[in-house]
Amino acid sequence: MDLTYTEEEEAFRAKLREWLGQVLPTLPPKPDPNDWPGRRTYDMGWQRRLYEAGYAGLHWPVDAGGQGATPTQHLIFLEETERAGAPYVGANFVGLLHAGPTIAAEGTAQQKQQWLPPILRGDEVWCQGFSEPDAGSDLAALRTKAVRDGDEYVITGFKIWTSHAEVADWCELLVRTEPSAPKHRGISWLAMPMDAPGVTIRPLRTLAGSTEFAEMFLDEVRVPVANRVGEENDGWRVTMVTLSFERGTAFVGEVVACRRTLTALAGEARKNGRWDDPALRRKLALLSAEFAALWRLTQWNVSESEATGGVPGIGGSVFKLRYSHARQELYDTAAEVLGAGALDLDHEWVLDRLSSLSYTIAAGTSQIQQNIIAERILGLPKGR
């Protein structure tokens, strides 16, 4: 067990820090959360800078246009960019963390060539069209159907909760290609251009007030068969190969940020006198222990995936379950620190508190996470 970084890793960190120090002051001001074109431009501008500096797709394999960095280097990257206050992946989330890795793992050489470089350069935004009104936790129950017509699929259906749909160029879409097969075996994975005729987007407002996701109506949308990644009806497996990526490192930067927020909360409490409440001090201390441990668990998971060649172990689900809960506790505690200030939407922590409410739902609810741990890790029998 070794928690020290090698000379090479430290050199990587130093170079990155230096670059961040130069580039961050040159960034334009952050756009308004409701200005979607502005957000897209901002997020993609950051991706472009990463690309030009050789940090795009850091941990992607070299044949996918990545840098082939080790998981530890990737961890350092996420840690340092967060520390320095660099922008998040934002609109690039699906491209960089799910659709891209899926194409890299399962796509043909031609598909990789077509789709990966624009993701890495920050030219194209992807969204994820998986969930449907009647297929959420039970994703495999999805009904959006794709019927083969020559070398095209004709797609009709209804997707929901599609984040970033308004500004996306492509959608990784799960469709049913074989209605009579068992539900997991009749699904295919397609790349759908968002400007195809028949795609209608209706933004949905979240409880935080902004439109983070949308409904997506698909009315006889034609997508070339060549846009299918993996075999026909093998889309479930294709998707699952990389779904664990989402749970692996997607929140690393946020853990670093949460630890900083805790310190800021303590500072604020000292200023406004709430620090004198021992119950509050105790809550903050327990959160501090929790987030410190989540950071160690991240290091453990990263080291494990380095040893096993990228297969995420049990740590991913455990991390997601505890982190999403801890994040909500953190912002509930922030509200205690703020007192009446917790009702003021102009306070950053209040918006963060609202958005933290989605953490136990998105990317697999906490209940589903517990089912996964119980059945796949602990081997308990499947229930009804």
């Binding site: 620090w275 001090r281 441990a293 668990l297």
Partner: protein, 294 residues
């Protein structure tokens, strides 16, 4: 960075698990429960021979020359097996109190208001305890005799906290296994109770608690940092106590019996939770550090 067990560490862990499976199996555990206050001296010497007490002594001093991370792995195994005795005090006394290193003497140490195994021990490390300074306590844990001190001793070495956390981790991992095993076997309503979500989710939370505590305990062993040890102790205490409670719940009425081992884990976890620094003082310490950093 490579935050995973090395092959040597894995082998050490495995070796300890095998030693205890052979020398302190369930029958031995239950026999010990029936003989409160007596320690198996032969086993103590065997632990000594296996290097349990001399693990961190330099090789030049006749020790094994390993560090806190390795010691943590051994204490984790001891916690899993519910091995009784003042293991940590004797381990810390190796090289200080003659005979501690090879397990020929049993050393205990006062810790706050309590002292474990006072009558069975051959020596007390640290400040001397005069007769009349202690009163026996009817200990909640049948495997940990306790005395109360009239004058509480100072909080011990942070290593007491670290190794206690490791024992708690081992116990949490074991009660999680016990719950999962029972949930897979016991049937009600025509199905294994482990197929019911309410039971599944208890088990999933047990694993999550245990694995998060593991990351914290192992990291604290590597860094030796006081804040890391404090965090690890808090999380491991919580994991051991909560997992024992959930394990009891999964076992139903059986869990409430003297016959089942669950109560032994719960009671020992309670004893260990009181060790080193109080929960209140630990949280105050971490809170203070938040302010200092900010």
């Amino acid at each position: 960075m490579h935050f995973q067990l090395t092959d040597d560490q894995r082998a050490l862990q495995q070796g300890m698990r095998e030693l205890l499976a052979g020398r302190f199996d369930r029958d031995a555990l239950r026999a010990a429960v029936e003989r409160p206050g007596t320690l198996d001296r032969a086993l103590w010497r065997e632990l000594g021979e296996a290097g349990f007490f001399a693990l961190r002594l330099p090789e030049d001093d006749g020790g094994v020359g390993l560090g806190a991370p390795e010691a943590v792995l051994l204490f984790e195994e001891a916690g899993r097996a519910l091995l009784p005795g003042p293991l940590i005090a004797t381990h810390l006394a190796a090289g200080v109190v003659k005979g501690a290193a090879d397990g020929s003497v049993v050393v205990t140490q006062a810790d706050g208001p309590l002292i474990e195994w006072y009558e069975a021990a051959d020596a007390v490390a640290g400040e001397e305890i005069t007769d009349g300074a202690t009163v026996p306590v009817r200990s909640v844990d049948p495997l940990t005799p306790l005395h109360r001190l009239h004058e509480p001793a100072a909080a011990g070495d942070p290593l007491v906290g670290l190794f206690t956390a490791a024992e708690q981790l081992g116990s949490a991992a074991r009660t999680t296994e016990m719950a999962v095993q029972y949930a897979g076997e016991r049937e009600q309503f025509g199905a294994a109770i482990g197929s019911f979500q309410a039971v599944k989710h208890l088990c999933a939370q047990m694993l999550a608690r245990t694995e998060l505590a593991r990351a914290a305990v192992y990291a604290a062993a590597v860094t030796g940092d006081l804040a890391d040890i404090a965090s690890a102790k808090l999380l491991a205490d919580e994991a051991a106590v909560r997992c024992a409670r959930d394990c009891l719940q999964v076992h139903g009425g059986m869990g409430f019996t003297w016959e089942a081992d669950v109560h032994l884990h719960l009671k020992r976890a309670w004893v260990r939770k009181e060790r080193w620094v109080s929960q209140g003082a630990l949280t105050e310490l971490l809170a203070e550090l938040l302010v200092e950093v900010g």
